[in-house]
């Protein structure tokens, strides 16, 4: 049995469905629900059975035998971007919108090959300031522009 695209996906979703099924048993039922035809666990249990069944069908009867060319993909770069986004999520509040977003964009541009520092600054900073001004003054969506230690 070769590991085609469909089979890998099927196995991943099967794992997800099994965890979902296990977690569905942790849903607490109120005493009056125990004997009712429909309660908080009914739909999750039905879905877990459907999910497991369908993912097994995908694994057994894959639509395509095509594999994934993992080596042609630049995974380190993709993972670096995931880390960058996560770091941005952690920094946006304490570091303020302007600083964190400008850094996020500049690091992102640099990671994709832009080496000219002046261009990095000239694209990122005005865009971030303009966007903040548009949201703040144009659409009344307020977000702290400055780092926490500079806020009054």
């Amino acid at each position: 049995m070769s590991l085609s695209k469909d089979r890998i996906g099927g196995i991943l979703i099967l794992l997800f469905c099994l965890i979902y099924a296990w977690q569905s048993q942790n849903i607490k039922l109120l005493p009056f629900q125990l004997n009712s035809a429909f309660h908080a666990r009914t739909v999750p249990e039905v879905l877990a059975v459907l999910g497991v069944g369908l993912s097994l069908l995908v694994i057994v009867f894959p639509g395509t035998g095509e594999g994934v060319k993992w080596r042609e993909l630049n995974w380190p770069l993709g993972l670096s971007f995931l880390v960058l986004m996560s770091a941005y999520g952690l920094a946006v509040r304490p570091a303020g919108f302007l600083l964190s977003t400008s850094l996020f964009l500049m690091v992102g541009f640099a990671m994709l090959g832009e080496r000219n520092i002046a261009r990095l600054l000239l694209v990122a900073v005005p865009l971030v300031v303009a966007f903040w001004a548009l949201m703040n003054y144009g659409l009344s969506v307020f977000i702290d522009p400055l780092p926490s230690f500079l806020r009054s």
Partner: protein
Amino acid sequence: MLDGILIGLATAFTLQNIAFVIMGCLVGTFIGMLPGLGPMSAIALMIPIAASLEPSAGIILMAAVYYGAIFGGSTSSILINAPGVASTVATSFDGYPMAKSGKAGKALAIAAYSSFSGGVIAALLLLVSAPYLASVSLSFQSTDYFALMVLGLSAVAAFAGKGEVLKALLMTVVGLMLSTVGTDQTVGVPRFTLGMLDLVDGISFLLLVMATFALSEALMAIIKKVDEGKRDEERRAASQLGSMAVTKEEVKEMVPVIGRSSVLGFLIGVLPGAGATIASFLAYGTEQRIAGPEKGKLFGKGSVRGLSAPETANNAAATGSFVPLLTLGIPGSGTTAIMLGALIGYGIQPGPRLYIDQPDVFWSVIISMWLGNIILLVLNLPLIPYIARVLAIPARFLLPLILFFSLIGVYFVSFNTFDIQLMVLFGLAATILRLLSFPMAPMILGFILGGMMEENLRRALLINNDSWSFLWNRPLTLAILLIAAACLFVPVLIPMFKKMRKDTKATSASAD
């Protein structure tokens, strides 16, 4: 109906709403033109802005972004043979050869006139049919709604591609599973929250849409190495468009095609789960057959009919997909599923009562479709040479910007940094699944319909004293469920029967 049209005109023709239609069309065209980003990502990116507007203005803006994105998708299909979305793939069959032969401007103009006509005719059909359908569906009960939602979800299987049925169904179930995260609506029991307070309200649909479309699209582009040679070709195509004039003969050839494809596209768009992609391919195939052997040979080599048919049909189908949304409250496609989520966010429940309770929203959406199509033709077409320059923005600047707009779009709605982390997680999962060719639209459909389906099922059981007999006692419910079963099993059974027949023939042939 006349009162409704007047309400719609009064709401849509305010200075503010006209400005939103213009802005929506331009932004939609801009985003739709970026390879990979389709109408779903475009609408998702606009939701944070739409959320700060009043309901009719917000919906008008999103509808305008929708047509704009479809138009933009056609432009990139014609200019660089890179359809942003599946519904414009058929456009590239004849649009790109036309552009390659130096008639890019003409191809864009034909596409724009066809889109405009398809959109306007379909909006007229919507205007006539939606109120009647809505009045019929007023008699629907929760059991029928439950059955309709089952039909909507199983239709995903009926219209999935070859070998994709099981995957589409599986992704629908995954969407339904994700919809159960959070507090149970009726008894207030937390489900799948893993003890985290941030999950008590469930997963935000905007977060899921952004992560699975915009974010994962950008991540896929990042991990697949950028072909600089191709980018140069895109830049060249964007700068040389040629004349946009269309001759009398070409118009004569287009008119009957537009008439047929509009009706066909609208009818297909109304079917839940079918949508613009199937409509465009079907219209292309139909016109190729109708054209006869001589003209049919030109298809794929820059035929006017071959370009006009899918363009008309995909726009007509986009309008048609609003019928189940506005009359039944059931999204017929991934895009209308996002619109439904946005309407629910406004506290509006789309369905048969929408045109009675909120006529301004109902009619202004329909009127704005005409307005949107006119704007696309009058404003966007002349601006295409300038908008097309977006294709020249280097990927190293574009991709981080898409990531930023996706993240900040979600953050600006909730102001919760947990959402950014959750989005990163979903973005990773969606990228892996997309690389494995698992479709995302069925998941969004399942996610949106999941909560409503559970609620209607619970209500139906409550009315029927906990008895499941409502499934077969009410003829309408039973009929809808039987159609749903047919949608579910026919696509699986037909190939099996075909294979069995082939095997039997092969055995009898070898026995002879």
